[in-house]
Amino acid sequence: MLLTAAMAIGMSGAAPREHQTATLEVTYRYEHALPQVDTIKYRSDEMLLQVAPDESRYFSIKTEFYDSLKASPGGSELINNMVMDALNKSGGIKTDSDGKILSITVNKDAMADVPRRGELVNVYKYPALNSMTVYYGVSGPDDILYTWDMPVDEIVWEPGDSTTYVLGYECQNAVADYHGRRWVAWYAPDIPASDGPWQLCGLPGLILSAESEGGEYRFTATAVNECKRQIKDMPGNHEIEKCDRKDFRRLEADVTANPGKGYGVVATNAAKIYHDLIETDYK
């Protein structure tokens, strides 16, 4: 019975817990270099950090909307209908005289307004408990989120002397080596929240901008607003699998080099990867 209960918790949905009310919301533009292009060409997503007194949550706005819509009654059907409408309007679906589909061409402009997932990441931080819980997914047919816990104070920042302005806030810089990358962060002492995008935190001010050395990964705040909004669990019915952080990164590296693997398509040669993962200490 205990094993069944444990499996049930592990297999469907995250463990429900009591969440705090966020008083601050920060929107970030997250940009990362496409791994298979040898110059730096960014893919970007819009991320949200909700900050409560002793808790915060970081996630993708696009993924949140998509998962919420899909989890609501009729949501999946609505998404499918929107996809078909967009393809039809752009002439992407070719049928024969009997209406049988002969080919489907995806037109990027036509699909622009169809909901789809962004980054598959959620980070819940609990500074009072010196703990953060991280959820990550990889692209593929299975809706699995991999999770692990880490201490919040693992990052050791070296304060710098430079200042700049981000969103009108005077920011000071700090540098840290974290999980294989060197990060430069600009934090605003005027916003005394020891938090920031993704897993970055621990500075005496909110991190408004952070970039890994070489520019392959960067976060830039685009808005900081007061709010009164309950932090929530991740929407949707994901399968949750506990694992080791480095094991996940190895899996992610494999999927990045062989994107079709999850769909049963194995390429003869793995793609050449020019830009490594956001954490590189898994090797």
Partner: protein, 866 residues
């Protein structure tokens, strides 16, 4: 024994004290004022007098922090802060670091700035300054260049060329792509402002990825961010119109602009035509091209004169630029431009030559007319990667120009000058980085130049025509230039050491011939000579990039071997030209640039002539009879400061240069004729230039204010009638301007310009010319209508204590039919002014000219955009 133990203990304690660490920790307990519960996640900071955080620590679940406090921190402050609480502060000098500091935090509502709600007009993030186009644009703006000219720190000239903080930009991107190459004026003057969301300035921009982090750049790049709707479509706009002018008759004009930036193929195309005397095309690249020679003309009858509304004629131009990106990240760009201009202007000139034995005055009434075709085609491939850079550009520039000048007055004559000017050039640049420390660069330039000139002069000898004369000049120059060089650079710590070496060759042939009877004896009227050189050179360079300061020191050394085809003896020359430049950035707001150089420059081969060449109907150029190099030294410093958050931009610069030559420029007047030559006389000159610009964007009233000031002075020697003449000059100018939105439906701009040019020649009294100009415009935009009144008032000095005033007034009424269509009625020169007077100094002469203007004109046009 006890005493010894006590003494030993005391000594041990003293040693322990001496070796104790200089840093201690402050332990603190942070509690909430309500109930005294421990506060987790609060940050304790050690802050210096400038407000910078030097150390920090966070409280855990128990509310405890341990903050390192180094020795010498007495002037600092300990702050404890958390969201939702007021900040608690304690001066370190008042703390006992061995005690636990109990901090009680009091709740306080969060106070954030409204940055998420309303973005300011200008934002900065590190080295990027972003201007919001929507907040600077006005309804009367037709192109993005009009809006950019209103942004503080940015200037856009009439040709569309952009400067940031007083310096030319080094790249112009649209959505990260360099679509126009160096000819981005097509975009600044053609792209409608409502397609653009923001203008980003990328300061200290290094366009070649392979050099980033190694070679500092003091220039900025511009990147236009388009609105989402514009990225996805073909941007199209155009206008067509017709009208009538009082002294010009029927008028017409139109333009079309098209740009697409989506997908792997991107294109800009612009075409325009008019018959309002506005010359078109001839757009050269705004970025300086590395390497190459040029052939200067020997013959010049002067431009036809006039500008703006003192020119008449018709013009047409078309230019297109297409860019393809391949899967490797490389870019192909093909550009083609063509322009046709048929222009004419009328002017009266009074030119005074200042001579010791009495001034010589020449009166002329000029009618100038020119027809010209200019065409340019270029193909460019560029691959810009982190470890590899390749760029090859093949360009052909072809132009034909035919100018007529009819002169009545002191020396009535008619001149016709035909000047084709052709160039084909290929430039290759290859840079490769090996490992982390080695860079190899290869550059190659190959250039072919052709410049023939044909001058025909007809002088009217009076009623009997007995003294009619026909004469002229034929000149042909053809040259080939090649330059191949390679460099190897290696990185040692923060320094990059580069050794560059190369060879170049220049082969030029010159044929000149004066035919007919020019009116004075010309000893030998032809040249048939070659002037070639072979050059071997090396340029060692060291570039050091420290945290806040960068230096660049180079010592180019060149060896020349010249062949003069018998005109002069062949010779060898060695030149050394050390140069030091640097940049210092004390903080994120200030930048200081400085440079110093000394050089010995080769003589211009253009001036080496065996015999005279006819310059125009009464001017001969005798050239130099020997090889004269010159020496120069210069120092300069520039400063710029910006505070984009408050909308402030300022820059200033000072430069001083000296030049010494073994030759002096001489001017001899024989009757009505002038002979320019170079004499073997040491001569020297020096000049100082100073400028200061400051601008501010005042968000709350939607205004931009600017002040530009400049001063220049100099002195030198010239030769007139065989006698040495010392010449000095001083020029000032001051230009304040204001652009303001008075009400949501009413905006205007005003600028005032004052300039003074002073000249002094030895043995003569000092003379000066003042000019004052006021420019203004006022636009009201009630509903779909737009009413604009604009004009200028100028006051030019023509004699001491005598000024000429001129007022120009123009009007415009526009009606926006819908989002895409606008009707415009334009009226220019409402006061129907027909003349404009201008006075200027040039060397040992001054001239007063009266230009004849286009009269009142009315044009109706339709503008359509998509």
């Amino acid at each position: 024994m006890l005493m010894r133990a006590g003494l030993l203990t005391a000594v041990l304690l003293a040693i322990a004290g001496m070796s104790a660490p200089a840093q201690t920790s402050l332990t603190g307990l942070v509690v909430d004022t309500d109930g005294g519960a421990a506060v987790a996640g609060a940050s304790a900071r050690l802050v210096d007098a400038a407000g910078k955080i030097k150390r920090f620590a966070n409280t855990k679940a128990d509310g405890v922090f341990r903050l390192p406090v180094p020795a010498g921190s007495d002037s600092m402050t300990v702050q404890v802060a958390k969201m939702g609480y007021a900040v608690a502060e304690f001066p370190v000098s008042g703390l006992n670091l061995s005690d636990t500091l109990r901090v009680t935090l009091h709740t306080q509502a969060i106070q954030l700035r409204e940055v998420g709600v309303r973005a300011s007009r200008i934002r900065e993030n590190g080295d990027t300054v972003t201007y919001s186009v929507g907040q600077f644009a006005r309804k009367q703006d037709t192109s993005i260049g009009d809006v950019m000219n209103r942004m503080p720190g940015i200037e856009v000239d009439d040709g569309g060329k952009v400067k940031y903080q007083g310096a030319d930009i080094n790249k112009f991107y649209v959505e990260g792509t360099d679509l126009a190459g160096g000819k981005y004026g097509t975009i600044t003057k053609g792209l409608a402002a409502d397609n653009v969301k923001s203008v980003e300035v990328l300061e200290n921009y290094q366009p070649m990825q392979v050099l980033r982090g190694l070679s500092f750049s003091d220039r900025a790049a511009i990147n236009l961010r388009l609105k989402k709707k514009s990225r996805a479509k073909v941007m199209l706009s155009g206008s067509a119109g017709g009208g009538w002018g009082d002294n010009t008759g029927g008028l017409y004009g139109g333009d079309i602009f098209m740009m697409t930036v989506k997908g792997g193929v991107q294109n800009i195309t612009k075409a325009e035509l008019n018959n309002r005397g506005r010359s078109l095309g001839g757009m050269s690249g705004f970025y300086g091209s590395e390497g190459g020679e040029r052939l200067d003309a020997y013959t010049s009858i002067g431009a036809i004169g006039g500008s703006g509304n003192s020119r008449f004629g018709r013009s047409a131009s078309v230019s297109t630029s297409t860019l393809w990106k391949n899967s490797r990240g490389g870019e192909w760009r093909v550009q083609a431009d063509y322009a046709y201009n048929h222009l004419w202007a009328d002017r009266s000139n009074t030119t005074t030559y200042y001579l010791e034995n009495g001034n010589r005055v020449i009166l002329e009434n000029r009618h100038g007319e020119s027809r010209g075709h200019t065409g340019s085609v270029s193909a460019n491939y560029e691959l810009n990667e982190k470890r590899y850079y390749l760029a090859n550009t093949l360009t052909a520039n072809l132009s034909w120009s035919d100018t007529h000048l009819d002169i009545t007055g002191t020396l009535p004559n008619s001149q016709r000058l035909t000047t084709p000017d052709h160039e084909i050039v290929n430039r290759l640049k290859l840079i490769r980085r090996f490992g982390e420390r080695h860079i190899v660069t290869f550059n190659s330039v190959n250039q072919w130049l052709l410049r023939p000139e044909h001058l025909y002069v007809a002088v009217d000898g009076g009623e009997s025509h007995a003294d009619d004369r026909r004469y002229g000049s034929d000149v042909r120059q053809q040259a080939f230039f090649t330059d191949e060089r390679a460099s190897y650079g290696f990185i040692i710590g923060r320094a990059v050491v580069t050794a560059e070496a190369g060879v170049s060759g220049f082969m030029r042939h010159l044929d000149t011939d004066i035919w007919g009877n020019p009116g004075i004896d010309v000893p030998d009227a032809s040249n048939d000579m070659g002037t070639d050189y072979f050059r071997l050179y090396a340029r060692p360079k060291v570039e050091i990039n420290l945290r806040r300061i960068s230096f660049n020191f180079s010592v180019p050394v060149s060896y020349y071997h010249y062949w003069f085809g018998g005109a002069l003896a062949n010779r060898n020359e060695v030149f050394v030209s050390p140069r030091l430049t640097g940049q210092w950035k004390p903080d994120s707001r200030h930048t200081v640039n400085f440079s110093a150089s000394a050089n010995r420059s080769p003589a211009g081969l253009h001036n080496i002539l065996c015999h005279d060449v006819l310059g125009d109907y009464r001017t001969f150029n005798a050239g130099a009879d020997d090889y004269y190099s010159s020496r120069g030294q210069s120092v300069s410093a520039g400063w710029n400061w910006r505070n984009p958050r408050r909308g402030w931009f300022a820059d200033a610069g000072l430069s001083q240069s000296w030049n010494q030559s073994r030759q002096g420029m001489a001017q001899t007047v024989v009757g009505d004729y002038v002979i320019n030559s170079y004499m073997a006389q040491p001569s020297s000159s020096e000049s100082t230039q100073l400028y200061f610009n400051i601008s501010n964007s005042i968000d709350c009233i939607g205004a931009t204010v600017r002040l530009r000031a400049s001063a220049a002075r100099g002195s030198g020697t010239m030769f007139s009638q065989g006698e040495k003449v010392d010449r000095s000059y001083t020029d000032f100018s001051l230009v304040p301007s204001l652009d303001m939105r008075f009400l949501p439906w009413l905006n205007g701009d005003y600028s005032f310009s004052f300039s003074r040019n002073m000249m002094h020649l030895s043995g003569m009294s000092r003379t000066h010319i003042d000019a004052y100009v006021h420019d203004f415009s006022l636009t009201a935009t009630p509903g779909r209508w737009r009413f604009t009144v604009s004009g200028s008032h100028s006051r030019d000095q023509v004699e001491p204590h005598r000024y000429v005033n001129r007022l120009d007034l123009n009007g415009r009424v526009a009606f926006r039919f819908n989002k895409r269509v606008e009707f415009i009625l334009n009226a220019s020169n409402l006061l129907d002014k027909r003349e404009y007077v201008l006075r200027s100094f040039n060397g040992l002469t001054s001239s007063e000219s009266v230009s004849y203007l286009r009269g009142r004109e009315l044009i109706f046009s339709i503008r359509i955009s998509r």
